[in-house]
């Protein structure tokens, strides 16, 4: 039976998550902002109609939002992650093979579904996701990932299709490929677009009919692969098991500039604490911790400084207290007292690149750490934070959550409706 992949994604996913719990948001323009309430990263159709673009800085559109009645929210990643897990649980009821591609996009393998039943199944999937989770979606079906992605774009932009487009159907394939601009193809960036225009390529069909070999010269092997995928020859497999994580990073922009060493140390300790939690969740450990902090490129005229250093531990660990010690050593090695005009740091982060499984990691001969004590202590801290909310127990170096005023801002965040008993939505009786 022929291969069929579906790409399903949530329409204006972050905004749709907000709408599930607040009926007043139905039919009005809604946008969600990035970290520190910087830019618009999700927009409903109503907000797009007002001309709000992806990535518009909030300070530029703030007045317009107020006058036009646009509802503006900070990102509520706890909620979006939870709603994403719910939608993927529904997808798995429809196909045993699901690749979670991003927080709001998944590939489903529909090869086992009869060709003439695929659209029907996709409609059923959309309706079920909408009913069970409240999230509206679109489904694109194709013999390859690139065609599934293209089909999804068509499903989203052509209202008559009612949210489903199937390019495994030869009639639809012939109909749409000569009508869609090549700019909509997955992986075609601005640079490739210019080269393709020079070759006289306008529609997706034009690109498909190019000889792949000369394209390889102009656009590398990626361009050649896109042509094969558009012809229905799969080059990108479904990745059902995510590769083992090789690196892990916790980086954050501060809500304001930082000049004080104690504050920087607190931020770096908080990032190291978060890093430890992420490592333990995956059963991973590291023996290298890189620390960086830098001033902002937007602060033109101010003194600039960018620092990065790596600290090596005697053996791999996921112990928060050991990671903090290493990260603070990194700060101590690189800190310089400011002169007359201080360095105003805008961002700091803690990064590891050589993760290994805790149980596989070799023990050190010298400087061995006490895993027997650290393991239960970390497990207890994680259990407290799971039960009473993130930040319930923190190392003193990282500072109490409420007092970290350098923390990334989410000032217009909605409640964590689905994960905190104290923040549940309210129904009036």
């Amino acid at each position: 039976m022929s291969r069929a992949l579906a790409l399903i994604d949530g329409n204006s996913f972050y905004c749709s998550c907000e709408r599930v719990f607040d009926p007043k948001l139905a039919g009005v323009p809604v946008i969600v902002l990035s970290n520190n309430d910087g830019c618009a990263i999700a927009r409903t159709a109503e907000a797009k109609a007002l001309g709000i673009k992806m990535g518009d800085p909030f300070f530029k559109i703030r007045e317009m939002c107020r006058s036009q009645g646009v509802r503006v929210f900070s990102s509520n990643y706890t909620l979006y992650g939870d709603m994403s897990a719910r939608t993927n649980a529904v997808y798995r009821d429809f196909s045993p093979k699901v690749e979670i591609y991003s927080i709001d996009e998944s590939f489903l393998d529909l090869s086992d579904v009869q060709a003439d039943r695929r659209v029907e199944l996709a409609r059923d999937l959309r309706a079920t996701v909408r009913a069970w989770t409240g999230i509206p979606t679109c489904v694109g079906i194709g013999p390859t990932k690139t065609l599934a992605k293209l089909a999804n774009h068509i499903a989203k932009t052509v209202p008559d299709l009612d949210g489903v487009c199937d390019l495994t159907d030869p009639v639809a394939y012939d109909h749409w490929l000569c009508r869609i601009s090549v700019a909509e193809v997955w992986g075609i960036g601005r640079a490739s677009l210019a080269k393709l225009e020079a070759l006289g390529v306008d529609t997706v069909a034009d690109l498909r009919d190019l000889d792949p070999r000369p394209v390889r010269k102009a656009m590398t092997v990626v361009g050649e692969r896109i042509i094969h995928e558009l012809r229905g020859l799969a080059c990108l497999p479904l990745e059902l098991m995510p590769a083992q994580r090789k690196g892990c990073a916790v980086t954050r922009s501060f809500s304001r500039r930082i000049t004080d060493r104690a504050e920087l140390e607190q931020a770096v300790s908080a990032h190291a604490t978060r890093l430890g939690e992420k490592l333990r969740r995956g059963g991973l450990a590291t023996n290298h911790v890189s620390v960086f902090y830098h001033t902002s490129e937007h602060d033109r005229g101010d003194p600039m400084r960018s620092v990065s250093t790596t600290v090596t531990l005697p053996e791999a660990t996921s112990d928060t207290l050991a990671l903090i010690k290493a990260a603070l050593l990194g700060v101590a090695k690189t800190w310089r007292e400011s002169g007359e005009r201080p360095w105003r740091y805008s961002k700091a982060g803690v990064i590891t690149t050589d993760l290994m499984r805790m149980e596989d990691s070799p023990r050190a001969l010298i400087g061995q750490m006490d895993r027997e004590r650290s393991g239960p202590l970390m497990a207890a801290i994680d259990a407290c934070n799971a039960r009473w909310g993130a930040g319930a127990v923190v190392p003193a170096r990282a500072g109490v959550l409420e007092k970290r005023d350098w923390n990334t801002k989410f000032e217009m965040r909605t409640p964590r409706y689905t994960t905190q008993v104290s923040e549940l939505p309210v129904a009036v009786a």
Binding site: Y77, A89, I100, A131, W132, G282, V421, L424, A427, V428
Partner: protein, 151 residues
């Protein structure tokens, strides 16, 4: 519909499920921006929650459902995968507000009713003016004097 794969079951076996099932998987394409904000999900026993991805908890505010045994500050477990039938207790959008009501279907007429002898029978005379959000499976009521939620 309640099809559950073995891989989804929590390590502790069948006794509890997470509402929702929070995936620990990593995205194959883009790292999830939510990765840093994942929280432990609310846990409920499996036999109470047959369909976790469609199940949500709501807090109740008000006394209009006392006749149904639902009181101020109770928690309602709402299943969006259930079809609302006659006499179901539902969470519904009424006049732009989330509210909990009893669905009364008589012939081909559907109405939303209060369940409190001190109040008029019907809150919404015609279901056209309301949208059902989900069906209440059960509610949770504390009989201890509560200091605080969540403990």
């Amino acid at each position: 519909m309640s099809l559950h794969r073995v891989a989804e079951l929590p390590e502790g076996g069948l006794s509890t499920v997470r509402v929702p099932l929070l995936g620990q998987r990593l995205c194959a394409g883009f790292p999830s921006p939510a990765d840093d904000f994942l929280e432990g999900a609310l846990e409920l026993p499996r036999w109470l929650v047959p369909n976790p991805p469609a199940t949500f908890l709501w807090q109740i505010s008000g006394e209009s459902m006392r006749g149904a045994g639902i009181f101020d500050r109770d928690l309602a477990c709402v299943d969006r995968s259930l079809k609302a039938g006659h006499d179901c207790v539902v969470v519904a959008v009424v006049n732009g507000q989330m509210s909990i009501k009893r669905l009364v279907i008589e012939g081909n007429r559907a109405r939303l009713a209060f369940d409190n002898p001190d109040l008029p029978a019907f809150a919404v005379e015609d279901l056209e003016e309301a949208a059902i959000w989900g069906v209440v499976r059960f509610t949770i009521r504390w009989h201890l004097v509560r200091g605080q939620f969540g403990r």
